[in-house]
Symmetry: C4
Subunit: 263 residues, 4 copies
């Protein structure tokens, strides 16, 4: 299959903005996007599956089996606000070819829905356990956008901290730019190491995003919601680690028998 | 070639059920499916080959060379019973893209034969050498199926033991669900580590499966049959390990010469 | 490009036999096939290139650059003998998908020239430095062939020594069998570890092959010729090892800086 | 997307010569080509992107996001001189299939612009920190070319130093040769280990190249320019290393939990 999007409903959206929150450092983007969906009761309308994800299925508490997936939700804008497409999911690609392929599929899909603007959400790992302030860093597809966003308290000195953005959060903006789409990556400061879900960082990112979009969002339930999500997220991550080890174990094991080989 | 199915005979099957038993932990699925084929004299009608399998051939005792393969057998239902397609084989994919590709090919093929229901057989590794009871765990594509199977003594608390099902046993059900197919994964409790073929676990799985399908199967010969199969299975596994090491050895060897490189 | 065959001349061949001698353990096949080409003045008529080979070019003593390649030679049969296609080369695929793809391309090509019979030449590594006799082992695509070859002193108890044949020597026969082609793999006993070119083993294999084909070949110059080839072969192998290390070094290096990452 | 070239301007070029300087040992080629572009004010007219590059974007000091890319510049020949196409970039492929694919795309593109001659620039790592002379080594697609270049002080005894040319510098010439294109690889002697940008080596290569092309280039600003580029280049390289580690870390981490697996 490679990468395939299954559409459940075809919403009519008014120049929607894509908000991406896939798994990553501190799970900042995923938690932020997940909470946004929960609180706004955004409607799921499409699923993405890919043969570049890990080759396994998840088993939920109900004993139900589910493929790894990315999910698209839409949210109709209130009071003249813009429509949103929110992208969350369990997984990113295992290999470089898949990373680019999946990002292109997502862009094809949302462009077809009239989307010309992208916000990707993520964490910026400082490597330090103590984070004095909950800064939000930003990177953009153009200088014009940076100017537009200057009043929102975003720190654009990101290149002094990091120099690359790995995976969907970076590629969606880089590849979108080639298509003339505007893109902003918002990154919440987070310890980053060890990998722990960071609700405080997600809250900071959501606050900035809501201000930019002119939306209100009750953030009181975030801590509680993150605790619930954390169990699930940690389980998936632990399982992915175990599965990867299991899959690679066979090839690393030392054979005691003589080695024989024919070419 | 990527993945190709060679059809030897085109059987007419009456809404057949797919039973999958490919290599995996404790070889539970493979032994169970292999014994089912032996005892029922199911008829082989197709072979699957893939460039995502290890790049070698097997040499049998007769000095005959054979590609790694998956094999499809059919069994016409007796006394009004349903027809079965039984899938066994020597190998699963080496990479994630192949895992998804092969599962999709299998689903395309059996869907074309009228199949809408899948049982995959496997082992659930407890990591403990002592297994007090021969429990059979289950995971399903929908709650409806779980209800239907509640009376067969299957333990559906599988998510507290494991959270993922790796390879064909999981993907066939996950990808099948996208096509509207019903799927059940039956997993026999087994030590799982170290990797040893576990006939007792295979027997438990077969008992549950036979009850669900309303079939009788004489399980007396299983122990003996497993001993015969074990030699073959262990040889293949040992050889795969050796081959993988041989193939990766060159790249890990430390070169003593100076390193020179031009970019 | 993936895998591409460039044809230099279109020979008319009379149901030719394919003889394969690509790099492998002890370089038995490569040395045997290379010597056969040299002594018979077989004519090169096609080259195969593949993006599954290592991504580098060779630099010869003349400072000339050459892509890694496999080469096809033909030899018109003398005194009613059969025509031969001889396949030699510098490289095999780096990954499983390429191994199968290249073998299929080769089979497509030689089938188009009327070939229905394949002999692949290789080494069987015993893992012991002392090899008492220069045995030649065989594996076949069918029992009929084994019978036909029984009088040539080939040892068919190969499955007690090894259980798999890795790469082109195995896949050409396994995949050829699916197309109804006859295939034999002749393997000269060799130490196999450490990897050293083994002219004695190549000689044994050539002797058996010449008997089967009803050909005469002066083997006196083999030792000298192998010494010449060995320098070249060892250089390529050393370079491949160094290049692989160089290519993988970057990814293994420990970074001392803090790790920062955004998802 | 795999590999895609985006054309910004369609220049009319008079049998142009391709000059390649992508990242590699000592960054000799990249520095030489970059300086040539700067000093001659060559005009950028196309970009190449590939899903075989690392799956991340760069963040510049301006907070602007950029995909990894290769860039094509043209320079109209002065005083009857030949037109040039200069290829520089941030990245080469991560895998063998991509290396070949990207080289073929580049050749398709420049062939379409009338190019039949290629100079690739790189470093030849001696493995020794002290380099007595700034030698320039050469490798060629044919003996005819070697003769033509004999008067330029190029050392063609390259096979005694190295035996392979890895990546674009080698493949462009090897694959170009298959299309009947002439190719020369000029390699500046450099320590090569540890990986440090070597402006002296780049200067030597540029001097030889300018002599061959009959061009003048003021090399005074090279040292200063290299210092500026070095910061940027080192940052990208450091980031690539960190990103690769981050991406592979998950798979190498030892899990302390029990391993459970279902096949």
């Amino acid at each position: 299959m490679e990468t395939k999007i299954t559409v459940l409903e075809k919403p009519k959206l008014n120049s929607p903005i894509l908000i991406e929150g896939l798994p990553g450092i501190g799970n900042v983007g995923r938690v932020a996007a997940g909470y946004l969906i929960d609180q706004t009761k955004a409607v799921k309308f499409a699923e993405l599956h890919s043969s570049h994800f890990l080759p396994f299925v998840l088993v939920h508490d109900s004993a139900e089996i589910a493929l790894l997936k990315n999910e698209f939700y839409y949210l109709k804008g209130r009071k003249g606000g813009r429509d949103l497409i929110i992208l969350i999911g369990d997984a990113q690609s295992l290999d470089q070819v898949g990373h680019y392929e999946i990002a292109e599929k997502i862009l094809d899909f949302v462009e077809g829905l009239g989307c010309k603007e992208i916000y990707t959400l993520g964490g910026l790992g400082t490597g330090q356990l103590e984070t004095p302030k909950q800064k939000v860093f930003g990177a953009v597809s153009s200088q014009k956008l940076k100017k537009k966003l200057e009043s929102y308290g975003i720190d654009f000195s990101v290149s002094s901290k990091i120099g690359t953005i790995v995976g969907a959060s970076g590629l969606l903006i880089g590849l979108g730019k080639l298509r003339g789409m505007d893109g902003v990556c918002l990154m919440g400061e987070t310890a980053g190491f060890p990998i722990v879900t960071d609700p405080k960082s997600a809250e900071s990112v959501l606050k900035v995003l809501m201000k930019i979009l002119g939306m209100n969002l009750d953030l009181k339930a975030l801590d509680q919601r993150v605790k619930e999500m954390e169990t699930f997220i940690n389980r998936i991550e632990g399982l992915q680690r175990k599965a990867i080890e299991e899959m690679t174990k066979g090839t690393q094991k030392e054979a005691k028998e003589d080695l024989r080989y024919i070419g």
